[in-house]
């Protein structure tokens, strides 16, 4: 017995999309498989690593924990939306400071960092570290990621 799909309508990176999906499909799989936006990664599938971070209706969420039915009518932003013709200032700062190594945590870090900057949630290094605590990186020891975030916040290179 298979369950019928729902018509999921949402705005993805500024574009209205609609698609039939199972209501309990994970938003992460919808993003990666149905929308083909593979910048959003799966590192754990249990809300621990933040590799699947996206901005859903202005909130930072783990796409692996959101069932599709709860994204109905929402506005979704993924890593693919961050750069225009040029990289965003945070992306530039990552490049300059060496914030990406293997690059697998990077999309999630950038999405989380962008959200922190947009909500003006970071005042200092301790705040940056706390804000990024849901995004695990195994390569960098976080120093250069934190530096990139703080530099962007202060408008420095």
């Amino acid at each position: 017995m298979s369950i019928s799909k729902i018509l999921l309508k949402l705005t993805v990176n500024g574009i209205a999309r609609q698609i039939y999906v199972h209501p309990m499909a994970r938003l992460l799989d919808v993003i990666r498989e149905d929308f083909g936006l593979t910048g959003t990664k799966e590192g754990c599938g249990e809300g621990e690593c933040g590799a699947c971070s996206v901005i859903l209706d202005g909130m930072l969420v783990n796409a692996c924990l959101v069932p599709a039915v709860q994204a109905q009518g929402s506005t979704l932003r993924t890593v693919e939306s961050l750069a225009g013709v040029d990289l965003s200032p945070l992306q530039e700062a990552f490049l300059h400071h060496g914030g990406a190594q293997c690059g697998f945590c990077t999309p999630g870090m950038l999405v989380a960092g962008t959200h922190l900057l947009e909500t003006n949630a970071v005042q200092d290094e301790a705040g940056a570290r706390e804000g990024l605590a849901g995004n695990l990186c195994r390569c960098t020891g976080y120093v250069k990621i934190v530096d990139a975030l703080l530099a962007t916040r202060e408008g420095r290179p």
Binding site: H22, P23, G45, E46, V61, N62, P67, Q70, Q72, A133
Partner: protein, 287 residues
């Protein structure tokens, strides 16, 4: 992903009345709030449920109301909203600290107070704070609503007073009079985003150098979040200058019944629970 979305359906009510009707008609449908608890076993293929009742869109379950005597939270109040509320920092600092200690930002943006309670985990972080602030829960079904003291809600490991047709709809907490003493400390395996190995919350009011009111609650040391009534009794009415630390510690050991699991050992939990109590009393003695 080991879950089977193709086998799972979701009931999506548009308002609370519809939700209660669906809940009554389909008691087997698992309520789904922010999903931060449920989606984990679901994705791991360890959740037997095949039918869900989506609460996420229900406006009636949102919002925080502050009145003279109390604060009322909708069950869908997010940790993030609690952490950001200016009044709570002053009046319910334990609640703010436990909300901020729950997961990290993305979890706090989806995880709900109602879900934290209903999930019934002994390791949940807000329950000890809710216990010491004397919270009450509103349980609602088509049959009507009832308020129950949160201290009575959990009846065992993952068991509670919630009837199969009920939802948790609101949580209310009396506003403490000024001048209270608040303590919350969570011990996890790391400093952020960790399930607690032991946690302890306390609230007290002192007068004339004596402890006049005291509530102590702990997480991860029993099948459910608990009040440490024995330890409270040993301390109540005593003077700050001569607290019976040993008697309180001994009573605490009788209040708790921790186990060995993947996160820690019963031995460690017993010892650290005692240390937290002593740490709390050090602070209280200074008041």
């Amino acid at each position: 992903m080991r879950g089977q979305p193709s086998l799972c359906d979701v009931l999506a009510p548009l308002n609370l009345d519809e939700a209660l009707a669906l809940r009554a008609a389909h008691p087997e449908a698992r309520p789904l709030a922010g999903g931060t608890d449920l989606m984990v076993p679901f994705a791991a293929g360890r959740l037997p449920d095949r039918l869900f009742l989506n609460l996420w869109g229900l406006e009636e379950l949102r919002g925080i109301t502050v009145s003279d005597g109390e604060v009322t939270f909708g069950a869908l109040t997010l940790f993030r909203e609690i952490a950001a509320h200016p009044l709570f920092q002053r009046e319910f600092p334990n609640l703010v600290r436990s909300a901020k200690a729950t997961g990290a930002l993305a979890i706090q943006s989806r995880g709900s107070l109602g879900g934290n309670i209903a999930n019934g985990s002994p390791a949940a972080d807000t329950p000890p704070s809710l216990l010491v602030y004397g919270a009450e829960l509103e349980l609602t079904s088509l049959r009507g609503s009832r308020w129950v003291p949160y201290a009575d809600f959990h009846t065992g490991y993952k068991r509670s007073l919630l009837a199969p047709d009920e939802l948790i709809t609101r949580i209310r907490v009396p506003r403490p009079r000024a001048g209270g003493f608040h303590y919350f400390r969570k011990v996890g395996t790391r400093q952020a985003q960790a399930i607690s190995k032991v946690s302890l919350a306390a609230w007290a009011r002192t007068g004339n150098g004596h402890i006049q009111e005291l509530r102590i609650a702990l997480g991860s040391v029993a099948p459910m979040p608990i009040r440490a009534r024995g330890a409270e009794k040993a301390l109540l009415g005593r003077s700050g200058a001569s607290l019976p630390l040993d008697a309180a510690l001994e009573a605490l050991q009788a209040d708790i019944s921790p186990i060995d699991d993947l996160r820690s050992s019963a031995r460690f939990r017993r010892k650290v629970a005692g240390n937290l109590l002593a740490d709390m009393l050090r602070g209280l003695a200074l008041v």
